[in-house]
Amino acid sequence: MPNPYEVIPATIYDIVQESPLIRTLRLKPDLPIRFKTGQFIELSIPGIGEGPFTPSSSHFGSDVMDVTVMKTGFVTEHIHKARVGDRVGLRGPFGTWYPLEKFEGKDLLILGGGCGLAPLRSLFLTLVDEIKKYRSITFLAGAKTPADCLYKQAVSEWQSYPGVRFIRAVDAIPAGENWEEDVGVVTMLLPKVSVDTSVNPAVVCGPPVMMKFGTFDLLKMGFKEENIYLSMEKKMYCGFGQCRHCVMGSFYACKDGPVFTYAQIKNEEGLWD
């Protein structure tokens, strides 16, 4: 068995500033890393530290990978200092992925907010690569303000795909910013969804409070517990269930997740913290 701590170095070939605090690093690993959408990797800056991130690109992209990172702590601050041409380290991929085979022929609902859009972009782009397999995709995306919206350049392209509805909402519009789309928390967009909630899957990722109320709203709409897929954010330190930081009861977010169905983990303590 190879060393599970093995690091694959990667070169940053492009950086996209998505919002004031969020940027997407475009990476070319020295060895291709084959991940499945929903899985995560550990990204390290030499001598500084590492953290878990979900790739935000399609898993069909063979030898490149996008990683969207919000500046929110020590390691991410250093990631934001990185420049094109710099070297970072990657470990992984780790954990579970979105079960695409269960989405085939279905009307899929994707509900995301803030930096939670990163794994959902990966899911969305992966779905789009084989769009004929899916009946429809409804993607609801929330952000605090228009400036905080992610993947702005891609919006019109995403909205143009057949069978795709991409709807955005912002919590508030600060003075001086323009916004002609919906205003309010992202869950307020749910009434716009017209799918058969008893058989179709929904995928949720975002800040804990959004995931909590998003999940509860979906349940109220009639979505089944086992059809609601959550991407849990815990402190995944090692990636393979050794360090125990991400333990939620008897589950590890890193190897039993990060993609869980709500049915799997609904009884775990501190689920939304």
């Binding site: 068995m1 690091v7 070297r87 050794q242 333990v247």
Partner: protein
């Protein structure tokens, strides 16, 4: 097989002094001070006549020998040296069994742990005494080993009865036989072992007769939070209990490379520390001390059993011994399971009810 204690000790002392072909390192428990029955594996002090294989488990857990407090895991720095560790007690062997399941399994192998595990021969010994905090019998353990060793020693008067448990052990026995007199076992000695084992088991049992056994711990998760709060009042969150626990293996992974090389170093972490489960942005599932305090108990008695099919507690009592707040694990469990929450005037939990009826 049976050997005189003096002969075995002479063999071990010689192995420490002269580098034999078989072992480059021999780790023996040393008395902490003259006349003391407390021993340490890590102690390098004292005259060599203070080696002591009997008594009860060492102050330091055996995990230190296999899972270092700080070890480089990428690139792997551990170099296999053939080692012998002697005087290991049953509770530590049981802990090693859990670590084996956690660190060497089909999904994951910790490279450094595997190196140390493969290159170490374990000579275990039956307990002949019980420490003040020893409570293996409460958690399904025994003060003697029935497996997990390469060679086991059972003390009978001035001799050790040798039991082999693996090929490594049989190989070691052959080496011992080259330099020392090893005789066949008489039926009388068999009986003496059983008697000694029963006696020490009864001693541990009698010292713990006021406490609950692990079969009764099922209600821990439902225990009232205010009782956990009360129990943790003396806890300063230092992490001594987890660092000294033979089954705790939570780690911090540090990146210690330079410019464009990557070096991964793991060191012990503690779920008792505030930053343990905190994610970027500051959210934490267990921000309060009472939650983290409770987490250790649930991990040992619910989470680890569900992950590894064995309790996370071996009854060594080191957490109780190491606690600067003098918190005794046994009383905490008893209080949580039995006490009503007086401040809130709650009725006793279902388990307390049952207990009283029995």
């Amino acid at each position: 097989m049976i050997i005189k204690v003096d002969d075995l000790m002479a063999f071990l002392r010689n192995s420490v002094l002269a580098e034999s072909d078989l072992f480059q390192e021999v780790i023996l428990p040393l008395r902490l001070k003259e006349g003391s029955n407390m021993v340490s594996f890590l102690s390098r002090l004292g005259a060599s006549d203070s080696y002591f294989l009997d008594g009860f488990r060492a102050v330091d857990p055996i995990k230190l020998v296999f899972y270092g407090a700080r070890e480089q895991v990428y690139p792997v720095a551990a170099k296999p040296v053939q080692r012998l560790i002697a005087g290991v007690k049953a509770c530590d062997l049981k802990a090693l069994q859990l670590l084996d399941r956690a660190l060497i399994n089909k999904d994951f192998i910790d490279p450094a742990y595997k190196v140390w595990r493969d290159s170490t021969t374990i000579l275990s010994a039956d307990c002949t005494e019980a420490g003040p905090a020893c409570h293996c019998t409460l958690v399904g353990g025994k003060p003697y080993s029935e497996g997990g060793f390469d060679l086991n020693l059972s003390r009978i008067d001035d001799s050790y009865v040798l039991t082999t448990g693996s090929d490594k052990g049989r190989e070691l026995l052959e080496v011992i036989q080259c330099t020392a007199v090893v005789k066949d076992l008489e039926a009388r000695a068999q009986k003496a072992i059983l008697e000694a084992r029963t006696k020490i088991t009864e001693l541990v049992q009698s010292r713990n007769s006021d406490f609950l056994r692990s079969e009764e711990y099922r209600g821990l998760r439902e225990g009232d939070m205010s009782v956990w709060g009360k129990e943790s009042r003396q806890c300063v969150g230092c992490g001594a209990c987890t660092n000294i626990c033979p089954t705790c293996y939570c780690l911090i992974l540090n990146e210690e490379g330079r410019t464009d090389t990557f070096v991964k170093v793991r060191s012990y972490d503690s779920c008792q520390w505030q930053g343990y489960a905190r994610v970027a942005g500051g959210a934490s599932p267990r921000p309060r001390m009472r939650q983290r305090f409770r987490n250790r108990y649930l991990c040992k008695f619910l989470y680890m059993p569900s992950n590894f099919k064995t309790l996370g507690c071996t009854g060594c009592g080191r957490c109780t011994e190491a606690c600067p707040g003098q918190i005794d694990f046994r009383t905490v469990v008893r209080d949580v399971l039995e006490l009503p929450a007086p401040e809130l005037g709650n009725p006793p939990g279902p388990n307390a009810q049952e207990k009283r009826e029995v």
